[in-house]
Amino acid sequence: MSSNQEDSSTSRQVREVDLTAAGRGVWLVKVPKYLSEKWKKASGKCEVGRLKITRSKLPGTKPEVTFSMNDVQMKQEVPGKPTITPKEHKFLLTGVGNQNLVVFSEQKKDAANSSSSSTAEDISEKIAIEGKVIQRAECRPVVDSSYVNLKKEQRVVMNKPRREIKQIALPVNVYKPKSDHKANIEYQKKMKEEGKRIRMDKDEVQNKLFSIFEKHQYYNIVDLVRLTNQPITYLKEILKEICIYNVKAPHKNMWELRPEYRHYKEAK
C-alpha cells in the first residue's frame, strides 16, 4: 500500500467491491444481548452451540429451528453480567419482506500501520459483499427458570441507582501533604543531568539553526533554546544576525530566517 496516506484530503483510493459472494444467501438473526456477549467471548474457531432444523413433511408448515448452547459456552463468564443464561433458544423465522438487505465486510489491515494515521485508506483494505439476506430470524429463549432468573437479575441491576448517597463521619482527605512534588523532582533531576547550557562555536550554532529552519519556517525562542541547547542570550545574538523577529499577528513572537538565507519553494 502506498504510504503517503498523510493527506487524507487529496489521495483517495476508490475501492472496488469483491462481488464473488454476492449470490450467497445468508440468514440475519437477531440475538439477545446476553447471548451475543457470550459469543464474543468465545475464542477462536470454537463452536458455541448447535442448531437443529426440524422440517415437517407436511406442506405449508415452517421448519422449526432451535438453538442449544454448548456447556462450555454456558459457563462463559461475562463481567458484570449474570452467568446463568437459558440454554435453549427457538428461532422465529420471518421473511425479508421487500427489504433489500446485503451484507458486506471490511477486512482490516494490520493494525500497526493504521495506528499512526487513521484515514479511510488504511482501515478498510478490502471490501467484499458477503451475501444477501434471504431469511430473517429472531433468536428467542425458551422460557424456563433460568430465563426467569436472568430477567430477575437484569431487573435488579437496572433498578439499582447509579449513584448512591453514603453518609460519612469525617471529611475524607483526598490528598496528602508533600514536601516536594513529583513533577518538581523530575525537573530538577533533568536540569542536573543536562547541566548548564554551554556556548558553542558560533558557526556550529548557525549551522544547527539552519538545519532546524529547514523543517519549519517559524520558531519560538523557547523551542529554539531547547533544540539548540544554547543559552538564550547567546542564541538571541546569533538569531539577530540571521533571523527576523516577527512582531505582528500571523506569526507573532516567532523567529524566521532572513530572506537571503532561505531556500523554501515559497509556498506562500
Binding site: 470454537c46 463452536e47 519556517q217
Partner: protein, 543 residues
Amino acid sequence: MTSKPQAATGGAKPGTSAPSQTSTQEYVVRVPNGSGKKHSMIKFSTGTEVDFLKLTNTTVRLERENNFKEYKTAHNLETMPKFGAGSEYGREQKEEARRKKFGINIKKYNPDDQPWLMKVGKGKDAKRYKGVREGTITENASYYIFTQCADGAFEAFPIEEWYNFQPIIQYKYLNSDEAEEEFLKRDKTMNMFSIMLRKRIKNEDGSQDTEAEEKEMKKTKKRDKSLILTDMDDWGLSDDDDDEDDDDEGEDGEKKPKKEKKKNKGKKKGKKNAKMNDNDEAVEESDEGDFDDRELDYISDSGSESELDEKEKNDKYDDKGVDQEHGLKRLIDSDEESSEEDENKDEEDNDEADIENEGGDDDGEKKDKKKKKEKKEGNKDGAESDSSSSSSDSDDSDIDKNEENFSSVLFMQKKKGGSRSNSPFEKLETTKSESKSEGVKRKMESEDTNDTSKKLRTESPVITPSSSSSSLASSGEITEEAIRRYLTRKPMTAKELVQKFKTKKLELTKEQLTQRIGQLFKKINPEKKYVNGVLYLSVKKAD
C-alpha cells in the same frame, strides 16, 4: 454433551431422532472471532433495485465519504502547512493546548464514521448511493448473520453497523420554494413538462430575467410609491397646473385615434398605460410596504390627478401628497368624501373652462351628473371591454403581459387587487384624452371615470362645496378649489393670492400663473371689496 463427537467431525448430520412426520438436521454453530473482518449491513431503501448478483460484471465501488475539509472548516481548523515554508514549529500542539485551556473539546475526525459512497457502474451511467449509518439498531439486541460453510456448519458473524443506502439524486429538481410556486399555478399549468425547462431557461439567462423582473418591480413599486408618497409640506398646489401640462402632452404625443381606442378599453388598458408612463419617468427605487393594494384603494378617488402628476416629475410628490390626504380624509370623516368628488368635477370643469371659457359651477356640475349616469352604463360594459381590450392592446404592452403571466407574486396580487386598484389609471387616461379634444372627450371621460365617480357617489351622496375646499387645501395645484379655500378664509388681494401659489414651487412663469388665476376668478366670481383703495377678493362660505 453427547453431541460432542459430532462437533468434532464438524459436519451436519441428518438427525436420527426424527419422527415419521419430520426430519431433523443438526448443525454446529461457530463464532469465528478474530478473523479481522467487520461485517456491516447494507439496507437499500425500498424501491431501489440493486441486485449484486446481476452486477457481477460491472464494477461496484464502495468508499467512505471524505468530509475532512468540511470538518476542518466547521471547527475552524487552520490549514497551515505542517512543515516547510510557512509552517510553525509545534503549532498543532500549541493550538490544542490552547483549546484545552478554554475547555474546547473537538471530536477527532474519524474517517470511519463517514457515510459510505457506493458507485455502481462507470462513468456517466454510474448510479450513486450514499449509505448513512443507522444508529440505535444494535442497542438492545445484536444481529448476526448465519452462513453455511462448506462443511455444513454455520458460522455466525456479528453485524456491527447498519447503513441505509439511498440513491443520490443527480438531476435537477425544484427546491421547496419553487415547487410551492409551481403548485400555486397547478390549475393554470397545462404542460407540466415545461416546468423544468422553464427553470433551466431561467437559470441560463438569469441575469436577463432578473433584470426584467427588477424593472417590473421597480415600475410597480414606483407607481405605488408615486401614489403613496406624501409630502405634507407641499399642500395647496393647484391641480390645474397638471391639467395644462397634460394638455400639452396630449397634443404632443397622443392623438384622437388613441382616444377612441381608450373609449372601448377597460381597466386593464388604463393600467398598462400607467405603466408606460412610469417607464418614461426616471426610475426610482423604493422600499415598499406590503399593502400596495390598499394604498391604491385610497388613491383611486383622486387618481386622475396623481396620474397627471406622474408625468411631471417635479410635481409628483405633491400630487401624491394630495392622494394620500384624500385617503386619510376619507377615513377620518365621511363627509369629506364629497369633496373628492367635487375635485373630480372641478378638474373637468377646469378643463372646460380653459377651453370653452364657460363660467358657472352649476353648469359643470350638471354636466358631471349626466356624465356619471353615462359612466354607470359604461361600467357595466367595462368588464366585457376588458377582455377585448387586452387582446387588442398588443401594441403597447406585450412584454408587460408576458411578465405578468410569469412573474412575481407581488404582481399577481396586484392583479387580483381588482378593479379598485386599477381604477386610478383608467382615470388617468381619461383625463389625458379629455385634454386633447373636447367633443369626444366628454363621453369618453364619462365612461372612463365611471368607476371612481361611482364609487365616490356611493360613499358620499351629498356634495358640500365647503368641505371640498378644505380637502383641497392639501392639493398643490392652482385649482378653483384652492383659490376658493384661500378666499373663504380671509379676503385677499389678487397679488397675495398669486404670491401664495408662487411659494408652492410651481414651475410656471408669472404670466402663466396670473393668467390661470384670472381664469379661475372668472369662474369663481368672488366678491370684490375695496379697502383703502385696494381690491380684496373673498368668497362666502355658504357657497
